[in-house]
């Protein structure tokens, strides 16, 4: 009992741990308190004065973000005084705001717009011209800052001080000339730049990559897991399904792994999912010429090749970019049913696997090293050391190789060089999401795979935590399969052919 407090929020009884602020309590109780400067992942600044609430018995309105909830406190968020405070709060924030919503990327997800629609809607009393400030300032490889749109909430400054601890941003000058910026011409270069775009409640910080690309209300969002490294940050992928185009990635709150953030590298993990980078359909090299074929034909030819060569002459080369469910299906079919025993990991030859940047990013650039390891332990009956085994695979001179290719191109730049090593093998079937860099002599067939955002399932991250790919977009190329689906197809074809054979 002593560890919690109960108070009244808009006639509702709310019980929260002692020490929580009214803002935190309201979030939990799903009571909306309009706010700009408070962010759950940063310290309290109390500078925007927008989160005003009425506390019974208090002389004046209080700011909810810096007000500790106490036993029996009676708080309201909807009194006339609070409404009046919102009106004036907005009026001040908008005095010098350029109102360039029509060309602002933030439009549609902007704190100023949202709160104006929610609690503002009044006529401005300003008659004086607005103070003009620098627009489109280049602040880093991924950042543009519009200082006119800034409402000086200081979230970005606190992010730089508290999260990346780089402290590159400050508020310079004073009053209506006050301006966010870096010292001199300095640029922000760290790997967490786009979080500044996310924390900025208005369109002051925008992302160079996303700038002017898309209106946010046309985007659909799906929960997924970043495939960029073994941390496995929880993310939301934003795409237009009507155009089958992926536009951006944002972090999703996950207290246990990534908190409120993700790294910039992770934001780039969708580029390869778009159609222009995808293997559109299954292909086979027939009489030395590459041809588009039905997937069933490519899978059937693989099945026959295995049948002819025998399971002992077949090898599986597996990268750690697939889900636990996919490994299960893959090994169940090839190892348990067909009897393949040659299973090899496929990953970077040299990697700094255990490195960690102190924030989120890890040196292991595979999202499911732990999952693959566990699956291999099952089929091999022993634990294998984590390393690239393509050379071992080739040295065993298998006649057939099924390769689950690494999905994210920029974390596997070694991919094409490695592929060349498979040149002498008579049947090589590449199961791949990407198209680029797969055209190498000696490959027999190419099967299009779904990307991480197009399937459900889970990865095991660096510490073995389950990371759920919760929702799936329809694939950008209609023919793409998950490994589970591909294996099912193969098994189905096999049954049909054996049945026809016995007829």
């Amino acid at each position: 009992m002593a560890d919690t407090v109960t108070f009244t929020l808009n006639d509702k009884n709310v019980t929260v741990p002692k020490g929580w602020t009214v803002m935190q309590a309201a979030k939990q109780a799903q009571v909306d308190i309009p706010h700009f400067c408070w962010h759950p992942g940063l310290s309290v600044a109390g500078v925007c004065r927008f989160c005003m609430v009425h506390v019974q018995g208090a002389r004046k309105l209080e700011i909810a973000c810096n007000l500790q909830a106490t036993e029996g406190m009676i708080v309201r968020t909807d009194t006339p005084e609070v409404k009046e405070a919102h009106k004036w709060g907005l009026e001040f924030h908008l005095i010098n705001h350029p109102l360039d919503c029509p060309v602002c990327d933030q439009a549609g997800e902007c704190g100023l717009q949202d709160f104006y629609m929610q609690v503002g809607k009044y006529k401005s009393q300003m008659t004086r011209p607005k103070v003009l400030k620098p627009k489109a300032v280049d602040l880093g490889p991924r950042l543009i800052l519009d200082t006119e749109r800034c409402i000086l909430c200081s979230r970005c400054v606190r992010f730089e001080e508290e999260v990346t601890k780089t402290g590159a941003l400050g508020i310079f000058d004073r009053g209506d000339r006050a301006i966010i910026g870096t010292y001199g011409e300095e640029k922000i270069e760290h790997n967490y730049q786009e979080n500044l775009v996310d924390v900025c409640p208005v369109g002051a910080f925008t992302s160079k990559k996303f700038r002017f690309k898309q209106r946010v209300w046309f985007l659909q969002e799906k929960s997924s897991i970043c495939p960029g490294c073994s941390t496995g940050c929880k993310i939301k992928v934003h795409a237009r399904t009507d155009r089958r185009t992926y536009y951006r990635v944002k972090p999703e709150i996950d207290e246990t792994v990534n908190g409120f953030w993700m790294c910039d590298k992770g934001r780039d993990t969708i580029a390869h999912l778009n159609r222009e980078h995808r293997l559109p359909q299954s292909q086979m090299r027939i009489d030395g010429k590459k041809q588009t074929v039905p997937t069933a034909q490519a899978l059937e030819s693989l099945r026959r090749a295995i049948e002819t060569a025998g399971a002992e002459e077949t090898a599986l080369l597996v990268s750690a970019h697939y889900t636990v469910e996919e490994y299960e299906a893959f090994f169940h079919y090839f190892c348990d049913q067909l009897g393949v025993t040659k299973v090899y990991q496929w990953r970077a030859e040299t990697e700094d696997r255990d490195s960690f940047d102190g924030i989120l990013l890890r040196g292991d650039e595979n999202p499911n090293t732990a999952g693959l390891r566990a699956a291999m332990r099952r089929v091999k009956g022993r634990t294998v050391p984590i390393k690239n085994e393509i050379a071992t695979c080739v040295s065993k001179k298998p006649k057939v190789v099924v390769a689950l290719c690494p999905e994210v191109p920029f974390t596997s730049p070694w991919f094409q060089e490695d592929l060349k090593q498979l040149a002498g093998i008579s049947h090589v079937s590449l199961w791949t999401c990407r198209y680029e860099a797969t055209e190498v002599a000696g490959i027999t067939s190419w099967i299009p795979m779904k990307g991480f955002a197009e399937k459900t399932g889970h990865f095991l991250n660096y510490e073995g935590a389950k990371r759920e790919l919760q929702e799936a977009f329809p694939s950008a190329t209609a023919e793409a399969l998950s490994v589970v689906e591909a294996v099912q197809q193969m098994a189905a074809i096999a049954t049909i052919t054996t049945e026809t054979a016995t007829l």
């Binding site: 402290g167 400050g170 310079f172 000058d173 004073r174 870096t182 010292y183």
Partner: protein, 153 residues
């Protein structure tokens, strides 16, 4: 190479230990630098980061916030003339006009003075009041101001 002369270094060092956090010492340190070096240059701000571990962003925030820090080269004699209520009643505006014409009597770029109106200097009983650098002058009027200024060479 060290940015600050030895005696200034020592003063900065002692300011840094006076407060709970070094960041709190930025205000007095900037005053010290300004007193020693006339104006606060980028190399000073950067020197504070390099040699004393203060964040140059924090230093620049403070330096740009307060109008009494000089971030540009300045004239040798800086007149701060009170233009608040009591001094205004005692004729401050007229005296400032007189100062402006005194300044205009120098060839362009040769004037050793700058003039800035400032709020109450806290010596209203001696209105109109002004500071020239750190020297205080009380009861400045149209008749004596030329002589006062002439003493600054």
């Amino acid at each position: 190479m060290e940015t600050f002369a030895r005696d200034l270094r020592e003063k900065i060092q002692s300011e840094l230990t006076r407060y709970e956090t070094p960041r709190s010492a930025i205000l007095p340190i900037l005053h010290l630098i300004q007193d020693h070096c006339e104006w606060i240059q980028p190399m000073h701000v950067e020197g504070l980061e390099r040699e004393f571990g203060l964040s140059r962003v924090h230093v620049q925030e403070v330096a740009t916030f307060y109008s009494m820090y000089r971030l540009e080269p300045c004239k040798p004699f800086r007149i701060l003339f009170c233009d608040n209520l009591v001094c205004a009643m005692m004729g401050a505006e007229g005296v400032m006009d007189k100062i402006r014409s005194h300044m205009a009597s120098f060839p362009t770029d040769k004037c050793p003075f700058s003039l800035q109106g400032v709020p109450c200097l806290g010596v209203c009983d001696g209105a109109p009041a002004m500071l020239v650098n750190k020297e205080r002058h009380l009861r400045v009027n149209r008749d004596n101001v030329d002589a006062i200024l002439a003493s600054y060479k």
